[in-house]
Amino acid sequence: MTSRNIGLVLGVFLTIAASVTGLVIIPNWQFRELQPVKKADGSQYPVPFFGEQLKGRQVYIDQGCIYCHTQQIRMKGYGADIRRNWGTRRSVPRDYIFEKPHQLGTMRTGPDLASIGSRQPSVVWHALHLYDPQITSPGSTMPRFNYLFTELKEGDPLPAGSFPSEVVKLPPQSNRPGITRMVPTERGKALIEYLKALNKTFPLPEAAQ
């Protein structure tokens, strides 16, 4: 093994060792200390997702929502995220301390969802939109997630485990012959719970700068 060979192997190794240190180890070390903050009412922000929300997060991941939706708000004056009403402030590292895996996203074929829960708190809206986006957003290219709902014809009994309060009436423009109502499945309910829980509006002090 000549010294030139050793130089090649070592040099190449060092180039990646440097970027691992700089872009993986140091950021992790920098953010490790971040803790939730106490709100005026004694609760915390952020809080980890739990229960139904957590199951819904898994549905969000397995349906690949990330390929069209981001969950990050850019600062005022850089893009129009805030002016489009997608958020009230820019997002900061503390917003994400419980995110595993992160769902920041890189594509906005659809709008940002960082605070969709505060923009659209209605369960019915989410149910209709997920069941068939054409109902709430005509012209949208979002896929239908009708398989997250049980479709009901006139007179069909409710599926086991569903409550009458969860049934959503379909508007006439839904264009599904015979089907008048639908009710979200377990996974459908969980996804809606997760989307409703997405809310990054709490004014963190570091986001004001």
């Binding site: 180039t15 920098q30 893009g79 997002s91 994400y96 890189t106 594509m107 709008p111």
Partner: protein, 493 residues
């Protein structure tokens, strides 16, 4: 044939034929898999593309929903096509340049089979809804050992060839190939540890994710492509590379700066400014290797452009190296904050990725196959027409794709930054361009099918032996070229 040729009393050199014999099965299996995965990836891409202008196409089927078929498209493209095409290239090039037989052929073939199985299992896992949710690392964890272990075999084989070579001299392609096998294992293991194995959360995970996402292209696909261009261009035209010193500068600057460029994928995101700045600086510094490598490739070609008429290998190799320069310039500029304000989160990025992968990396892999397959199998390419179809479909399809997506992306970004334009209006605006993309995808698929037919025929044993190499010219053109060659020689004397 079993005798080893002796170039000098001290140095034993294995003849090219011997090298190719030892490589025939191994490399053919890797390249054949790569073409199958390219077809799968293209089909998955086409389905995704149609869904973005006609969401009801195969609508309401959970396995084929956009959010699942789209990651299958990218993962089969980068790991399926990219991984196997690059590994076949690495093994054959290193064996040729070290003038040695490929070591452990059985192990490498077994590795190829396991690797293919891993991609199949991983892709089906995503379609079943078991994606990890981390971009570019979507394959479920149970598929990852099947991808990593075979790569260890390739690393071992590469090191063995490199360090047991007889001559002390090395060629620039060999540096890149060595670098890939050092980088990639570290890259994938650190990235998996930080994301799917959960060592890091939140924003730091996003940085690790894009450090990987950018480097899997920059430290895996790109160096292999550059190694192929460095080998093929001088080889086909019969001239040495323009400058040794430039290749040294290009190699080390590429190695140092590419590593840092990935964070520009998170510009504007919830990260401390320094991480983005590092990414922007890294991307700007990439002008140095890109320009030096460009000079080296293009200056070597100067005076030999007429050969593009005849040689299939050269056509693809020169297309790849030219688009390497163009797409790298585009990529560096794209990293700038003012550029990202508009094009980040838009189809522009998708256009750029395809420009690089299908305009630079893929053509160089095709060039490698066009050059090496006749030498590996002892057969010739059966149809010049199919090669011509493959070339023009690749070039036209890729250009149409890139131009449509980049233009649509800029307009989309400008509209998104104007809050008075309703979002659905922007969606509407992009639809015709997304249809053009589907058309581009169909053109690319036609090219792939033409190549598949030719590849299928060349691996048939002893059926289609041709005496002369398959060139792209008619007899009349060929005569003209011979005359020109004579004329040039006349000038030299």
């Amino acid at each position: 044939m079993s005798d080893v040729l002796e170039a000098s009393p001290q140095v034993e050199v294995v003849s090219r034929i011997e090298v190719d014999r030892s490589a025939e099965w191994v490399v053919t299996i890797y390249w054949a898999s790569s073409l199958i995965w390219l077809t799968v990836a293209t089909l998955a891409g086409l389905i995704s593309s149609v869904k973005l202008h006609n969401p009801d196409f195969l609508g309401g089927i959970e396995w084929l929903t956009f959010g699942r078929i789209r990651p299958v498209h990218w993962d089969t493209a980068i790991y399926g096509f990219g991984g196997t095409a690059a590994s076949g290239t690495l093994l054959w090039l290193q064996a040729r340049l070290c003038q040695t037989r490929i070591p452990y052929p059985t192990l490498l073939i077994a590795g190829g089979v396991i690797y293919n199985l891993g991609i199949l299992i991983g892709s089906v896992g995503i379609l079943m809804g078991q994606s990890t949710g981390v971009e570019t690392l979507e394959f479920p964890l149970y598929a990852m050992p099947l991808l990593v272990i075979p790569y260890v075999f390739i690393v071992i084989a590469n090191f063995k060839m490199y360090f047991s070579r007889k001559s002390s001299h090395t060629y620039v392609s060999q540096w890149y190939l060595m670098a890939v096998t050092i980088w990639f294992p570290i890259l994938i293991l650190s990235a998996e540890a930080c994301t799917n194995l959960g060592a890091v959360d939140g924003v730091a995970q996003a940085i690790a994710n894009w450090w990987y996402g950018h480097n899997v292209v920059g430290l895996f696909a790109t160096p292999t492509g550059i190694a192929a261009a460095y080998y093929l261009i001088p080889k086909v035209i019969g001239k040495p590379i323009h400058s040794y010193h430039l290749s040294l500068l290009g190699f080390w600057s590429n190695s140092i700066f590419y590593n840092w460029a990935g964070t520009h994928h998170l510009t504007g995101g919830p990260l401390p400014a320094w991480t983005i700045t590092v990414g922007v600086v890294g991307s700007m510094m990439m002008f140095i290797p890109v320009i030096t490598i460009g000079i080296n490739h293009h200056m070597t070609m100067v005076g030999s452009f007429h050969l593009l008429k005849t040689s299939p290998t050269l056509r693809f190799a020169v297309m790849g190296s030219m688009i390497y320069t163009l797409s790298s310039f585009q990529g560096s500029l794209e990293a700038l904050r003012s550029h990202q304000e508009i094009t980040h989160f838009t189809h522009y990025t998708i256009g750029h990725v395809h420009f690089g992968m299908y305009g630079f990396f893929a053509p160089l892999m095709f060039a490698m196959m066009y050059y090496a397959m006749p030498r590996l199998t002892g057969n010739e390419w059966s149809s010049a027409r199919l090669i011509r179809i493959h070339f023009w479909c690749t070039l036209i399809g890729m250009l149409l794709y890139t131009i449509a997506m980049c233009y649509a992306g800029i307009r989309q970004g400008l509209m998104m930054n104007d809050p008075s334009i309703p979002f659905l209006k922007i969606v509407d605006f992009t639809k015709p361009f997304l249809m053009l993309r589907t058309l581009a995808g169909l053109i690319l698929l036609s090219g792939t099918i033409a190549f598949l037919i030719n590849f299928w025929r060349i691996v048939q044993p002893h059926r289609l032996r041709f005496v002369t190499p398959t060139l792209l010219t008619t007899e009349r053109d060929y005569k003209m070229l011979l005359d020109k060659e004579k004329e040039l020689q006349g000038n030299d004397q």
